[in-house]
């Protein structure tokens, strides 16, 4: 048994080594693959996972929408940098009326769930639940461990399987979400911007030359209004090739993790693996080559991982292994937000959902409008636009300020005849 555990310890340690040797390309691939899974659920991914993101967080976005789209498609996520302010928002008690343990003030979400009292453990049992679909992936050690998920269970599971490649499934076991309505945040950000116009004025639109073309550079404030958190992640890995259940790694020492014919040995093996996982995660040095047999009574029930959580082996067969990774407290994996363009003199423009901007969709999902034949106001607008090329930007500015930031094409032949009338009377023929 001692030699078996030695093999286990070495394999767990190898998992950590493989991860640390990832190249920059592989790491970026990790981020993108993980993010694609989250994005499929119409959520903007957070990478790396963090606890420190909540509704009311405001980020300064200095890249144009086109550049953001490129980054979003290339990397799969948007780096969260330039945190400007955390708005002192309120409104949770009203928004979650009837929900227990939701209040405003110092104990506003997520504080009451994170820190119920001075010494208590996190308790998100009263937070609104969320559910994500299972996420499938393939993993291979050839050329490095380009694992598609930022959880430790995958490299550990791969080593337990003693396989160079495997298919896997990720399931977010305990997911939560909470939010503030965009209307409440709209008030908050405008109040803050009114008090900080000097700061925002430095990010007013400005012209810049890119590839010989002059274009207007825009700056935005991105206001988070909903976050999604995950407490634990189930990882199951399958391999085509049967191992011994399975640990050998070139060492002719087989360990039968799941041997129904010998229940006691199975229980001991699982306890041994979980004890080693605990030791590998808490010790900065490699696991000892020949650890003593774990004392089942004294061994920790579950194993901590680097972020302060736990990693536990839950099932193993000759072709599969399942592990559950539990974070110490739920971590934010994704968010929703609204973008506010910073205008001249530090004022803010109309808001638009960040996700829709990134994906080039209208602010309202799936919007298709019925064509309205070009009426008199439409003809006036078209003639005015063609009279001077500068009129396009003037109309765009008017629409952003007074017309809900709809597109010019939508204004001309869309259903809002009243807005067309206003454009003519307020802008073209005042």
């Amino acid at each position: 048994m001692i030699r078996r555990i030695g093999v286990l310890a070495a394999l767990v340690a190898l998992g950590g080594c493989a991860t640390s040797k990832m190249s920059a390309d592989q790491l970026s691939r990790v981020a993108k693959d993980w993010s694609l899974g989250i994005r499929a659920s119409q959520v903007i991914p957070v990478y790396p996972l963090t606890e420190d993101l909540q509704p009311g967080d405001v980020f300064l976005v200095q890249a144009s929408i086109e550049d953001q789209i490129n980054v979003y498609l290339e990397k799969g996520f948007l780096p969260l940098e330039n945190l400007v302010v955390r708005l002192p928002v309120s409104g949770y008690a009203t928004f979650y009326q009837g929900y227990p343990r939701v209040e405003d003030g110092a104990k506003a979400p997520p504080r009451r769930w994170q820190f119920p009292d001075e010494t208590g453990e996190a308790d998100f049992s009263h937070a609104p639940l969320a559910a994500f679909p299972s996420y499938n992936f393939s993993v291979s050690r050839s050329g490095g461990l380009s694992v598609a998920v930022p959880v430790q269970a995958v490299p550990v599971g791969l080593n337990l399987l003693d396989s160079a490649s495997a298919d896997g499934t990720i399931t977010f076991k305990d997911a939560y979400t909470y939010a503030l309505p965009a209307r409440a945040l709209y008030d908050g950000i405008h109040q803050w911007s009114a008090q900080n116009k000097d700061y925002l004025a430095q990010f007013a639109p400005r012209e810049e030359v890119v590839d010989g073309k002059t274009r207007e550079r825009q700056f935005f404030l991105r206001v988070v209004n909903r976050v999604y958190l995950v407490k634990s992640v189930d990882v199951t890995l399958f391999t085509e090739r049967a191992s011994s259940g399975g640990l050998s790694a070139g060492v002719p020492q087989k360990v039968e993790l799941l041997n129904l014919a010998n229940a006691k040995e199975t229980i001991d093996n699982f306890a041994a693996v979980n004890e080693i996982l605990a030791r590998a995660a808490t010790s900065p040095s490699p696991a000892p080559a020949s650890p003593s047999k774990p004392d089942a009574e004294n061994a920790p029930a579950v194993a901590p991982v680097a972020v302060g959580g736990t990693l536990r082996l839950t099932m193993a067969t000759s072709r599969s292994v399942s592990l559950t990774e539990t974070f110490k407290r739920p971590l934010v994996i994704g968010y929703l937000a609204s973008d506010f363009r910073i205008l001249k003199d530090g004022n803010l423009g109309a808001s638009a959902p960040t996700l829709n901007l990134l994906e080039g969709r209208p602010a309202y999902d799936g919007q298709v409008i019925a064509y309205v034949p070009c009426d008199a106001n439409c003809r006036t607008i078209r003639a005015w636009l063609k009279a001077d090329s500068r009129h396009v930007s003037e109309l765009a500015a008017w629409l952003e300020k007074s017309g809900g930031a709809i597109a010019i094409a939508d204004l001309e032949t869309g259903p809002d005849a009243l807005l067309r009338q206003r454009a003519v009377t307020e802008l073209i023929k005042p």
């Binding site: 274009r215 825009q218 298709v368 019925a370 064509y371 034949p373 396009v392 709809i406 010019i408 032949t413």
Partner: protein, 66 residues
């Protein structure tokens, strides 16, 4: 010119003779790179089209777009 407006919406029921004007208006937004013009139906002998603008490549694999 870059406009901080929403991208144009798709429009349905556009008569053949008006498709050009609608496309021209959609192209005022330089983010629009693709426009699909699909025959929708025919009303009183006049063809009507659905005009759909895209600011991202609609032919790219879905995993790169969603």
């Amino acid at each position: 010119m870059f406009m901080p407006l929403q991208p144009p919406s798709a429009q349905t029921g556009v008569p053949r003779g008006d498709v050009g004007e609608v496309v021209e208006s959609m192209l005022l937004d330089e983010r629009v790179r693709w426009i699909a013009i699909v025959v929708q139906d025919s009303e009183a002998g006049a063809d009507r089209f659905e005009v759909t603008p895209w600011v991202i490549d609609p032919t790219a694999p879905s995993t790169d777009r969603t």
